[in-house]
């Protein structure tokens, strides 16, 4: 089935079996191996990408559902020559050990910061009528869809804190 997806700013024409997940389309058809397949069931978050600016699990979506959409993977967030502030912060805070979950963590963190800036609530939000204060409890709750088997969680929070700034 013919599908055109704009991936990291470039329109990519694909002809796919409808069963192809967005994750497999990115990895196996477009050779973008940054997005990782961990559980393939939406439980680990290693496949997190941004679709039209919002984070989703690429493993739980069919590529054909995304015709005309804009997808940003870790390769589009930044690379060695132009690191995104979140990537730089992960390096500086040593926010990974094996690194397998890291692309998903970074895409998720970038999407999460926009959600918080847009004042979307989370389970950690005590006052639904007030502006979101991105406390550590908020960051932990909002990042709970990304698992790190090496358990670099304290450093991941530190890296996200570096980018988000301190709570006023």
């Amino acid at each position: 089935m013919k599908t055109t997806i704009t991936v990291n700013g470039q329109a990519r024409a694909l002809d796919l079996d409808p069963r192809t997940s967005l994750l497999d389309a990115l990895r196996e058809h477009l050779n973008l191996k940054g997005s990782k397949k961990g559980c393939d069931h939406g439980q680990c978050g290693a496949c997190t990408v941004l679709v039209n600016g919002e984070r989703i699990n690429a493993c739980l979506s069919l590529a054909v559902m995304h015709d005309g959409h804009e997808v940003t993977t870790i390769e589009g967030i930044g690379g060695e020559a132009n690191l995104h502030p979140m990537q730089q912060a992960f390096l500086e805070q040593d926010a990974f050990q094996c690194g397998y979950c890291t692309p998903g963590q970074i895409c998720s963190a970038v999407g999460m910061l926009k959600e918080a800036a847009d004042n979307w609530p989370s389970q950690a939000t005590e006052d639904l009528g007030a502006a979101i204060a991105l406390t550590d409890a908020e960051i932990r709750e909002r990042m709970s869809g990304n698992i790190c088997r090496c358990s670099a969680y304290p450093q991941i929070i530190a890296a996200i804190r570096d980018v988000a700034g301190e709570v006023a």
């Binding site: 739980l60 004042n119 609530p121 639904l128 009528g129 709750e141």
Partner: protein, 317 residues
Amino acid sequence: MRPFTYERATDLAAAVKAVAENPGARFLAGGTNLLDLMKLDIEQPTHLVDVNRLPLSAIEDTVEGGLRIGAMVTNSHLAADARVRARYSVLTQSIVSGGSGQLRNKATTGGNLLQRTRCAYFYDTSKPCNKRHPGSGCSALEGLNRNSAIFGASEACIATHPSDMAVALTALDAQVETVTPQGATRTLAVADLHRLPGDTPHIETNLAPGELIAAVILPPAAAGGQVYQKARDRASYAGGLASVAVVGTKVAFGAVAHKPWRAEKAEAALAAGASAVEAAHAELAGARDNGKNGFKIALVARMTVAALDEAKQGRGA
């Protein structure tokens, strides 16, 4: 995953017709539950009708003073809506207690209502399950039933409905607006959408094959506080062991029955002047367990009392 054909619906009536006329067809919304179940060979559709681009993504004020939520509104957008937060905070509280940020960005209002049980035996295709194979038996009855139902279960099935959102919608007296295979619009209460298992646990809702949820309609909220409490094994991103939604003196339970459980006996007790403890016990007197899920009875009683007390103090009002 088994092969299937795919079409992207652009017309509501045509989408309903496409599914109604093809027994192997299913609607595809967010897909976070359906595609997962297809990978596991539990769901086996031969044709998917993608309804994501139908014009069902608006949240509109109703003339009655409530809200009409399009079925394709994502869980995230619904939880973040300023009107929902101000007037229906129990709905926001329930949604943000379910899934992860990534899942809520994809999952839809209609799809959330129609998600399927997380019973371990429904997921284990090597075991009997009356939902997957009617007549094969229920493995949970004498198996790992720690998270099974304590209300309304049958010998055929003790599975629970996993939605948090639906529990809040039940306490809010929400209605579902559907389009029938004949092209008519009908409404039914969210409380009447799902069925108890009886002898046919594979039939989970009162929707006809091909009937599409188009919207959820919220009436003006009842007066009083609004509270959603959820107990689970992890602090975040885990299904509920039990949950309680309170809107004023309206009460609904989650993860304890085959459908969101309206606590009518508790509500009647409260209306008759009973205390929160008495009201909780009035409802829980009808609970039955299968061994490992007996803890839910005391748990739900305590959660009900706590949620009623919080609502009485004005939380979420």
